[in-house]
């Protein structure tokens, strides 16, 4: 069989927007505050919702977006978000 391939042309590297966020963990029932001013990153194809709560892509922590910033490395978030951090604990 004749074979054809076009390799490369991969999608460009994702671009992220950075935010300062409040960090929480889930104690099984509700979110417990851990620390403030954690740098997090959300891919720019998603509309960020300041004040809403996102899950760390690697799992384990939840972040309420506070304000956008424009430099520095940030922990990558999943795009799903909730108005109330406790919503993550009931999943």
């Amino acid at each position: 069989m004749i074979k054809c391939r076009v390799e490369g042309g991969a999608a460009p590297a994702p671009v992220y927007r950075l935010f300062l966020a409040d960090e929480y963990v889930c104690d099984g029932l509700s979110c417990d505050f851990v620390q403030a001013d954690v740098l997090v990153a959300l891919q720019d194809i998603y509309t960020p919702n300041i004040g809403k709560f996102y899950e760390l892509q690697a799992g384990g922590f939840y972040y309420g977006l506070v304000t956008e910033v424009y430099s520095g490395p940030g922990a990558i978030l999943n795009p799903t978000n909730y108005t109330n951090c406790d919503s993550w604990c009931s999943l």
Binding site: I2, C4, R5, E7, G8
Partner: protein, 185 residues
């Protein structure tokens, strides 16, 4: 836009989808094999499998249910099959293609087009185009399409592998076409 998967379809529907051509002839055996020079190549993307005829006799309109001329593969390491959709006793000068969507960002691409002597035994010419390689009447190459590679010396098969500096332009679109043009089987 693909042909519907069922229900009523017209000759006009089929000829337009099969060939993306304004050619006026309802020459079904010819456009169903992508007769070179009059009609456009048959897109043998795996999602079209079974959605076009495999011969030039006893052709029914329902053979084309669900056929989609515009199907593309993404770029990547996966090798895709390219073949004629005609049986050895089919008409002369078929053409077939697979199409890759290279996106809109300029980048270096690696192109591979390969097969053995027997794979190319019914192939007269193998061509890679950037941009849609036919005019609206099914003939010739539009000015906004370019030939990246052409090979008519296939007596030893082909093992083409080369880099291509892909520069997107809106007139040509984002598709890379691999086309085989056949001899009389």
């Amino acid at each position: 836009m693909a042909l519907p998967a069922s229900g009523q379809i017209s000759f006009d529907d089929v000829i337009i989808e099969m060939s993306q051509s304004a050619h006026a002839s309802y020459d079904m055996p010819s456009f169903s094999i992508g007769l070179n020079g009059l009609y456009t190549p048959i897109n043998v993307n795996s999602s079209n499998s079974g959605k076009y005829t495999t011969g030039n006799t006893n052709i029914a309109l329902s053979d084309f249910y669900g056929y989609d001329m515009t199907l593309t593969y993404p770029t990547g390491s996966t090798l895709q099959d390219l073949f004629f959709n005609v049986e050895p006793s089919g008409l002369c000068n078929p053409s077939a293609m697979v199409v890759f969507n290279a996106g809109t960002a300029n980048t270096d691409l690696e192109l591979e087009f390969s097969g053995s002597v027997s794979d190319f035994s019914l192939v007269d010419t193998a061509v890679i185009y950037y941009g849609k390689p036919w005019k609206n009447d099914g003939s010739a190459i539009p000015t906004n399409a370019t030939i990246i590679m052409t090979d008519s010396t296939l007596t030893t098969g082909m093992n083409y592998s080369s880099s291509y500096s892909y520069v997107y332009n809106a007139d040509s679109g984002s598709n890379i076409y691999f086309v085989i043009y056949g001899i009389c089987p």
